[in-house]
Symmetry: C2
Subunit: 438 residues, 2 copies
């Protein structure tokens, strides 16, 4: 069988383009409207997407008022509440929720993801983030976010606690013998007795081992710490490459780190986010893109760039090239990608900022055949194992992709026409972790 793409749909927020909600066809509250969200998830399942993916923020976005008031991000669902509801209305599509290791509690998080995994019949995924937004810290009793290195140290311990709790149950712990009255075999359920730098957790978890052993583990981030953690621990690595060259470099780097960590590199899937504009002609696709970009209010541009870079860009001369950026405690992969883009195309800060409003991810524009060509090239030349597809508006961005691009990928044998497995791990081709008790 030819190599196939793994496709996730970016569904929270419903779109990343700053102006998505201003499109004439968009329900303005789509990001926050359950019937719309349900119909989109079912659409992606009908198209055989591997999973829907939900990002998250734990605060209102740090933007100046003129930009914030224009942003649809200000109201949205908790990812797990939203995915639990989607679980009840779908049968096969995976459900990947972001959960922060900086502000959540590991016992509660382990239990919630196990709950979603059981309730969905083995379709849950956990996207581990460490939350860089300094506004979030202020909602959780801290004056500033933890420093980068400490965030990752905490994330590593958090991950060990969560997976340790899942591993505290054998697959065979539930006996449920009506005759003898024995419900569970307590020899197959073990406390964790974890005592570490950040957490002290006795266990065991009060929910059985997840259907998938562990829900699928996803990680983004391009720092050294994030790459190392991804190589050791992640099933899916969300990338932010904006060119096929940076995509290949990232792919090579993470896969070789995975090999160095003793893992099979095929079990670490690299999925860059990618916003797609597709039309019956290339001109139509470009017109869609231009139409959307022109809907972005000028006041949103510089603040959007500031968020992408983790640096206040209002201090820069908008008509000069992007200056050397200071080292920050925030995500470093985005800085690198955006600086490379500015250099590559010789953009001023103002020009770069206009790009930032568009979505902040990589982008493909063209006919279905051209999009499929690009995706095929990324896949076959080891720039990715698939994509997190970002839709430019609702429902048009979704409809365009599933009616035009998906059939073309299927025709080429690059994407499934029906789900192979029952669980997310089975569909993506990932092994099921074994409990040390089995």
């Amino acid at each position: 069988m030819t190599k196939q793409l793994c496709l996730g749909g970016f569904m929270r927020p419903i779109c990343l383009h700053t102006a998505w909600w201003r499109h004439p066809s968009a329900p303005t509250l789509a990001n926050f409207n359950w019937p719309v969200i349900r119909s989109l998830a079912q659409k992606l399942e009908h198209a055989c997407f591997d999973a829907v993916f939900t990002a998250d923020h734990l605060a209102v976005m740090p933007m100046p008022p003129n930009a914030l008031k224009r942003s649809g991000t200000i109201t949205s669902y908790d990812p797990l509440v939203m995915l639990s509801a989607i679980a009840a209305c779908t049968d096969r599509i995976g459900l990947i929720a972001t959960g922060t290791t900086s502000y959540e509690d590991p016992y509660l998080l382990a239990r919630r993801f196990a709950s979603l995994d059981h309730l969905s019949g083995g379709r849950a995924g956990w996207n581990i983030v460490t939350t860089v937004n300094p506004e979030a810290a202020l909602n959780f009793g801290l004056e500033t976010a933890l420093r980068h290195a400490e965030r990752y140290e905490r994330a590593e311990e958090f991950f060990d606690v969560v997976t340790g709790l899942w591993d505290g149950w054998s697959d065979h712990a539930l006996v449920m013998d009506k005759e003898t009255g024995v419900f569970s075999d307590l020899d197959k359920i073990r406390p964790l007795n974890h005592k570490g730098k950040f957490f002290s957790v006795k266990g065991p978890l009060n929910i059985a081992r997840p259907v998938q052993g562990w829900p699928v583990i996803a990680l983004a981030g391009a720092s050294e710490e994030a790459r190392d953690m991804a190589a050791r621990s992640a099933d899916l690595v969300f990338g932010n490459a904006r060119s096929i060259e940076t995509g290949r470099a990232f792919y090579r780097d993470v896969k070789s780190r995975a090999v160095a960590a003793g893992r099979n590199p095929d079990h670490v899937k690299i999925l860059p986010a990618n916003q797609v504009y597709v039309g019956r002609t290339r001109a139509e696709a470009l017109a869609k893109k231009r139409y959307m970009d022109d809907l972005v209010h000028v006041d949103s541009n510089i603040p959007n760039l500031s968020i992408r870079l983790g640096v206040d860009c209002s201090k820069f001369d908008p008509d000069k090239p992007l200056p050397e950026l200071p080292h920050t405690e925030q995500g470093q992969g985005n800085q690198r990608e955006w600086a490379a883009l500015a250099r590559r195309e010789g953009l001023t800060v103002r020009e770069l900022a206009k790009r930032a409003a568009e979505s902040g991810t990589g982008e493909m524009v063209g006919t279905a055949s051209e999009i499929a060509d690009q995706m095929e090239e990324w896949l076959m030349t080891e720039a990715c194992d698939g994509f997190i597809v970002v839709f430019y508006t609702v429902p048009d961005g979704y409809d365009d992709f599933v009616t035009m691009v998906v059939p073309e990928l299927q025709r080429r044998g690059l994407f499934r026409t029906r789900y192979e497995g029952a669980t997310l791990r089975e569909n993506i081709g990932l092994p099921r972790p074994k409990s040390p008790l089995d």
Copy 2:
């Protein structure tokens, strides 16, 4: 219109009777099986129940192994994950989830309940608990649970933060004007800037004001602190009265505290939990009860009593009356109810322990007409405003109640035949809290 009963269905765990899962008709994994849970929730909605209610524990129950291995409580869903899924499969029934103020974070909790309220179209409720189980503390980095008084002090501040976050949004904050590109009116969204003893939370919340203003607030607990907090803050008060006399005393006490706190006592609904056995004849109902109680293994009895009382009862002489109980940091209402029962009926510890295995709540046994008589008497003589109905097994306990008792209550005009309102507050007859910004 005659006074009507408010009815909630106890759905997590699916039943409280220790032996529910051993009944021949019970799917042994019902507590943990999504299609079964979905069908039961839809059954209760079809019967016009006000709400389903989900209790919660944050640890495996503190029982000796011989009892623990016989308990179906060992595995179950996170309440909010389960209710979010139920929200997607129902239209009108309320969804009340337990959330602890001792181990959750207020920003995350406020956001999750707001999410459930929006996603369900205004059907969410939050049952505030302070979590007495000392095993839970060990899962959250503490050596012991907080002391009773400090638990309530923290609960009060937690409640203020959560409701303050909900109140930080006007009902009219979302503008969504495609023409001007303005999504929200930032003058109608305010930070909280809370700095207290336990929490420091800036806000605002990144989700709009709940559909109901605030989700419905429920509280249980019979201590002075719990009664005072309920009188000030709760819409629903879950009671544990095991006789109509203690029910009336509790009702009078909480309602008069509510009046003293400046509230309309009709806006504080008292709902004792009540396990029901109904049969076509009284003998049939009694036989059902006897059958269930005989399924309880003797090893479960004393540990169950220990949990009800918050005291290790294995140290007592099983053939003597219940001794004077020590003061504990645990829930005190249950102690009082069980001690009164033992005195009233002259039970030994062993006899009382057998009762404890049955469910731990009040109980009604009889024909539909006899059950309706009792419920009517409780309602009309101010022992309650309704009940949290506890089902003895799955699906029989549910089916018995909705096919026999509900029609009899409806015939008497004591229960609705269709939902009056769209939201849980409307159906129960509760006012909608106004934002200070409106």
